[in-house]
């Protein structure tokens, strides 16, 4: 029985692992930290798995546990590094329709996002993942109206970072 549970978990995690990779990409610097956070999220997901009843999608459920782990439980500080070596990150701009001008703009955008704090990153992350405000508010535990207000502020902050 518990082996079945483990097997089902491993399979679902394997096919949904990009969610975790994306969060690691946003919250860590460098390959080692990425792997470290990935492992911690996996452990936390496995610990919470018996409570996952399947009334929501595995991916929806995994978002929350992964974000909570990155923001709340993960011990290694992500704040100390202020300037990020962009090339070190796993941002490989997609190869098709290669466009230098666009690539430069994207680089700047990614760098700007990196300067946000943990909570702001979480909001941006869910925005990039096309989550609606109801889900953002539920995931973070803030009101929907305030989530919207905060998102607008973050947009303003990004704009300021891009055009100081």
């Amino acid at each position: 029985m518990s082996e079945n549970l483990e097997q089902s978990f491993v399979q679902q995690l394997k096919s949904n692992q990009n969610i975790i990779h994306k969060i690691c990409r946003l919250y860590t610097y460098g390959e080692d930290a990425h792997k470290d956070l990935f492992q911690e999220i996996t452990i936390q997901l496995w610990k919470a798995f018996p409570k996952f009843r399947g009334d929501s999608k595995f991916s929806t459920w995994a978002y929350r546990v992964a974000l909570n782990t990155a923001i709340t439980l993960y011990r290694k500080s992500t704040r100390t590094i202020k300037t990020v070596d962009y090339e070190q990150q796993q941002f490989f701009i997609s190869q098709d329709d290669y466009n230098y001008e666009e690539e430069d703009r994207l680089k700047l955008m990614y760098q700007a996002v990196y300067q946000l704090n943990d909570i702001e990153k979480a909001l941006i992350f869910m925005y990039l993942e096309d989550k609606d405000y109801a889900e953002i508010s539920e995931t973070l535990g803030i009101s929907e109206v305030n989530a919207r207000v905060k998102m607008n502020r973050i947009k303003g902050k990004l704009k300021k970072i891009l055009n100081p």
Binding site: V10, E138, G141, K150
Partner: protein
Amino acid sequence: MIMKELDLLKKDWQKNNTFEQVSEVDIYKMLHTKSSSIVKWIFIISVLEILLWSSISVFFNTDDYLKNTKYEELNVYFEALTVLNYAVILVFIYLFYKNYVSISTTVSTKQLMKDILKTRKTVQYYVWYNLGMVVLSLLIGFFMAFNYNPEIAVLMDKIGHNTKVMFITILLFTLIIGAFLGIFWLFYRLLYGILLRKLYANYRELKKIDL
């Protein structure tokens, strides 16, 4: 203009999924590794704190001391105090356990942070309770010694006539107790400061959004 940039970022974000994939075997391995989350550390440190303080209050017993004095009728009060102390320990252990179990990564970020801080608060109160008991025991001890111990009574007689010595003695006791509390306060600030700095910062940030 920022919307255009965000749209560009979103497009790339959703398309850009070239992560090195983790295999099933590796995931199995991860399931059997140990977590290093702050909750685990808070749990370990909390259990150690409870063990330490419980053992101190169990072993620091005034019974023997009392038996040596001739005022055994005071024993009843001290036994009542000991029983009360055990009850308080049990209540704290129960509260700590209840809080710890309620920590779940599937609730909202804010709730998770609240639950963690609550667990930590319970243990903090327990430590303060014990420190209070230690100070109280010391005070009662001094009082008893001065009032009931014949040897000290002789000493008291001598000191009593010299207000300067009396004053210095009291000052010294106060300083010792103060230093004792100060060291503990500093120790806890350091211990939990390191562990919880990030969590506190993020919690404040989240709370600010809903102000």
